[in-house]
Structure formats: C-alpha cells, structure tokens
Subunit: 334 residues, 2 copies
DNA sequence: CTGTTAGCGCTTTCAA
DNA sequence: TTGAAAGCGCTAACAG
C-alpha cells in the first residue's frame, strides 16, 4: 500500500497524489477529489519516514524534560503538543530521568530523527550535547538555563516577581517572621528564588534571621525535614514560603505533626502551582508558574527561528502570579 | 553528513558502515573499529527515517493515552518507555484528550509512522479505528476494553479483587454502613467496580441500602457533590469507598465542610493510588493499581506478538492491592 | 495543471 | 568478510 497504488487507482501520477496530500494549489479540484477517493478506498496513509526523507523536512520538534512523573511537566507537555499540532508539527518527547547517560540517548534520538528544533526544559544539559545541536543548526529553546545567542532562545521566568508577590502579600497580612525553605543550591532556579527572598526581605526592612532560613531539596521529604528544624528552634515563624510546592506540602505535614494549624498558627506559601495545590487540606496558596505560557513561548521561539530563518536567539519572560487559597491568613490567625 | 561520508573516511563501503551500526557479526573487529572512529570523528548519527524506510522496520511502538495530565498516566508512560528502551524500541506517545477527532489523528500518526504495535490505554476507541490497525497486522494491547483475538491482547485489571479487599478491610474494622460512590456508567471499569461492590456486599450479608449508593464522575467535583448528597440524607455511612481517588479526594472536602473528621467519623477509601493519595490530609487509604505492571504487561503482549509472530492474543491479569494509610479507622473512631 | 524522473540515506540481496 | 547496486516510498525540479 503506497503512493503508487493510489496513483494507479486514481489514474494520475504519483506526483499528483503527493501534491494532493500536501495541499498544493496546482491540482484541479476534480483531480484532487479523485485522488482523495482513492486514498479513502485504499485506506492509504502516507509513510512519514519516506516523506521526511524525500523532503528533507521532519516537521518534528523535540521536547526534552526531566521526568514525566514530576508534576511540573505533564501540563507543559500537553500545552506544547497542542500548539505544535496547531502548527502542523509533531512532537517527540524524551525523559532524561535526571540521568546524564539517558540524556545523551535522548539527544541522540532527536538527532537521528532530524528534529527541526528542540525545547530543553531540564536544568541539566551538557555543553557538548548542546554543541551537537548548534553544530547542525537546530534551534534550541531553554527554560532559564541559557543566554540567548545564535539559534538559542531562552524562556526566563521572573522568579523574583513571584517571591516578591508572596512576601508582599504576607506583610500585608501582618507577618514579619517569615521563613524561607530554599531548594537545592545546585538548581539555578532555586538559587534565584532564594536570592529574591533575601532581597525583598531586606528591601522591606524586615528583620532577617538565619534561623528562618532553611534548605530542602524540592521534594516533600526535604520540606518535611526543613520544617521540622524550623519548628524546633527558638524563633517561631508565623509564615513560611517554600521554594516549590512539593516542599510546601512536605512542610504541611511537619506543621500538623507539631500540633499547629494552617493558616491559624502558620501561613504557608508554595511555588509553581502544581495540580496538587488545589487538593491539599487546606488548599495551598502558591505562586503560579504557567506551564502553558512556558510551552507557548518555547514553541514560538523554535518556530520563529525555524520558519523565518532569523537566527538571533531571543529571551522571553514569563511572569508568575500569586494564587491565594486557604493556607494563608492574617498573623495571629484572626 | 551521511553514511557515504563515513564510508569514505573509513575507507569501506556504505554496506559495511551499515553493518557496523547494526552490530552485524560479519564485520572484522578491526574494520568495525575503523568505522566507529569515523562515526565519532564526523559526529555521525544515522537517519532514522532512512533506516526505517530501507529496512521496513520502525522499531517504534505507539502508546495511546487519554490525557497526560490525568495523574493515572505519567507513571504508565514512564514505565512503558523504560521497558521499550530496554528492548531497543522507541515509543510514540499520543494523547486523545478524550476527543474522538483527536483520537483519529493519533491513530493516523501511528499508521503513518508504521509503528510495530500499539498499546491503547484509553477507554474510548472506535471499532473502525481498531480495524485500521488489525487490517495492517499491527498488534494491539488494550487495557480492560478488549477480548483477546488475533493480534489483540488485553490487560485485564481484576477490579473486583480490589473492591473486595477494601470492603473486607472495612468490615474487619467493624463498619457495616458502607457507602459507595460510583464512577460514570459510561466507563466500563467504573461499572465493574460498582458491580463488584454490590456483589461483595451481598456476599458478606451486609445490608445494602440505596441511600448508600451515589454516583460521581471520577473527578473531584463529582466526588464532592456525591458526598454531600450522602451526608444530607437520613442514613449516615461510617465508611465510604470511592470508585477512584479523585472522587475520594473530592469527597474528603465535603466531609470536612460538613464538620466531620476523617477517619474518626468517617473512613474513606479510594481506588487507583495516584500520587496525590500520599499527600492528602489524612493520607488516603486506597486500592493500588500498579501502572508499572500494566505497562510491563502491555509491552510484553506487543513484543511477544511482534517478535514471535504468534498472533494469538492473550489476556494478562493485574491484581490490585490495598494500601492502608490514614483515612481509615475502626468504626466509632476508636 | 500534470507527468517524468532523479534523488533523499539507508538496508540488503547478490557476487566476489 | 566486503562491495556494488537495487530498492524502500515519497518529494521536487523540470518539462510539457
């Protein structure tokens, strides 16, 4: 079952079939109709491999993520795919599983399939692997981790704005003993969040006490531990900001175990707004980081570069916003 | 950059390069080494499209799911991919978004890429689309929704066993007023769970009261509504089993809003064991449905058929198991 | 508007 | 063990 059979049945050349499939406007409507009927009749589906090979275009974009079971990614993947499909492109998703070797395998797959561009949404990616892409003029879009340059765009999240909003909100509620549970220092985005916290605290003239600064690992266990340490020292915070939602959720457990209530005794704010946040008890106030917007921008960055052929990488900025739920209240639990 | 260049640099024919890449044993180690060196030097990656076209093999399996943001799927996808990669196969994941049109598009993509087999993990899939695969001798693996036949395997979840375990556990805790919140009747797996509940209740000689039977929609809102109805009538249940976890989580909110405590006033059990369950307050007791096992079996079903060429579809059974957390307690909240 | 034909990059007989 | 060459199914000049 191939293009030849269709051509034979429709009594045209393979070229005409090809043109019909690709929506060329130089095919008489009648001819096209005949071809389409033949396609239906034979249940013909054009061979993508042959198409890509013959045309030199893959119409395929790569999307590299760390781990699909990390709640941050599914929505990102979905949004990216939706947009890609709208633009007649397909998406090849690859999980690195945070594993350098596996990452290399992923990159290899992308290269072998001749993708037209790759969105790299992981924080870890070796220089030499990036070189592999650039070397072949494959546009790249990063999340936070790159500086724009030839063929490379960056989606920058204005993390600081989110932290600022959280602190502003808490101070409006009267909080002054605000603790922060940072993420792993190896993660650039975690470092930025922490620095942003320190900055806004200083800017607002709030006392900054070392005892109110803890470190987690962006997982629930780390949040739990950190919160426990925070509760077992002399200075009790009235509010806590966590570097991400999982940390906050881990902290939640520690707070309850300590016999305290949220938000009456302690207000809690997370970061990212993963789905979970709406389902915790109480629902978690958090800083929303729109995966849809990230996906949209990443795709656009790639698409622009690839279509217009203008190879100046650009930087796109995503602004987070505070989502107030039930885990925050005025100090003193009024 | 193609196989010819590599051949030239290594001073062999393209056939030899091809053989080396494919690990043929009829290449002298020395020759192979020379070829590999050339590949390295040129940073050569074989073109997958050309390979598939030339060989007629795609080494690609399709995985069709409803929606990657549905918490049931990410782990399934990950496990499936892991196994596939271990077997030297790639995976093409497609979301139907519960949309018949989009489903058709997904199937088309699979067909166009000449997949070697497809795991269909959605509940909705038109007969004629299935025909499209069978017609081309593409092995299929379904989750629950098929009866084994030529080229078609089925992964059957023993839902009833899970429901039985839940009810057994609750009766051991002394519960006799056990309510059930069913899923949408359009879903075969939801119907099975409900029937299983009715059966075990009867078998154990527990009074079955219509007032203890409600219906949700497998989402949190449905669970919330159903639970509210359950609480606003004359017969108060001391325990509730929900058809899936999201339903249970929705019910949780309704219970709290009604001023009741979990598990002291009402015990609650979910189904599926999505990640969320461990994070609710209290953590949700539920029936675990191993996505890893489903993925493993689905892949094996496809792989067996495709490799051995034995086209008898088989049925594989997955046994769920009860995961006891903090949302269940003896009746009376002892 | 349609057909002819030469590739696209790799695999795989068939010969040597 | 290696090489030459004929496809795989489609696209895209080019010619008409």
């Amino acid at each position: 079952m191939n293009i030849k059979e269709v051509a034979r049945l429709a009594k045209v050349s393979t070229a005409t079939v090809s043109r019909t499939i690709n929506g060329s406007n130089k095919v008489t409507p009648e001819t096209a109709a005949r071809v389409r009927k033949a396609i239906e009749a034979l249940r013909y589906y054009p061979n993508t491999n042959a198409r890509a090979l013959g045309s030199g275009r893959s119409s395929l974009y790569g999307l590299i993520i760390s781990d699909i079971t990390n709640p941050f990614f599914p929505e990102l993947v979905k949004s990216f795919e939706d947009i890609a499909v709208q633009h007649g492109q397909e998406v090849l998703v690859a999980n690195t599983n945070y594993d350098p070797h596996r990452t290399e395998v992923c990159v290899g797959r992308m290269l072998q399939r001749k993708v037209d561009g790759v969105a790299i949404m992981t924080s870890e990616m070796d220089k030499h692997l990036i070189e592999e892409f650039s070397h072949r003029n494959i546009p790249l879009a990063f999340l936070d981790t790159a500086t724009p340059q030839r063929g490379i765009s960056n989606i920058r999240v204005n993390y600081a704005a989110g932290i600022d909003a959280a602190v502003e909100y808490l101070t409006e509620l009267g909080h002054t003993n605000i603790a922060f549970i940072a993420g792993p220092p190896s993660l650039i985005s975690a470092r930025i969040r922490k620095r942003a916290f320190l900055n806004i605290i200083k800017r607002k003239g709030i006392r900054l006490d070392d005892r109110l600064l803890e470190q987690g690992n962006h997982r629930t266990d780390g949040g739990h531990e950190a919160m426990r340490r925070l509760l077992n020292q002399s200075l009790r915070p009235t509010a806590v900001i966590a570097s991400n939602d999982l940390t906050a959720i881990g902290a939640m457990g520690a707070i309850f175990e300590h016999g305290l209530r949220i938000p009456q005794d302690i207000s809690l704010i997370g970061y990212d707004d993963i789905e979970l946040c709406a389902f915790t008890q109480p629902a978690l106030t958090t800083v929303r980081l729109s995966r849809q917007e990230i996906a949209r921008l990443a795709f656009r960055a790639l698409y622009n570069t690839h279509q217009t052929g203008s190879w100046d990488g650009a930087e796109y900025v995503v602004e987070p916003n505070l989502v107030v739920r039930r885990s925050t209240a005025p100090v003193g639990g009024v």
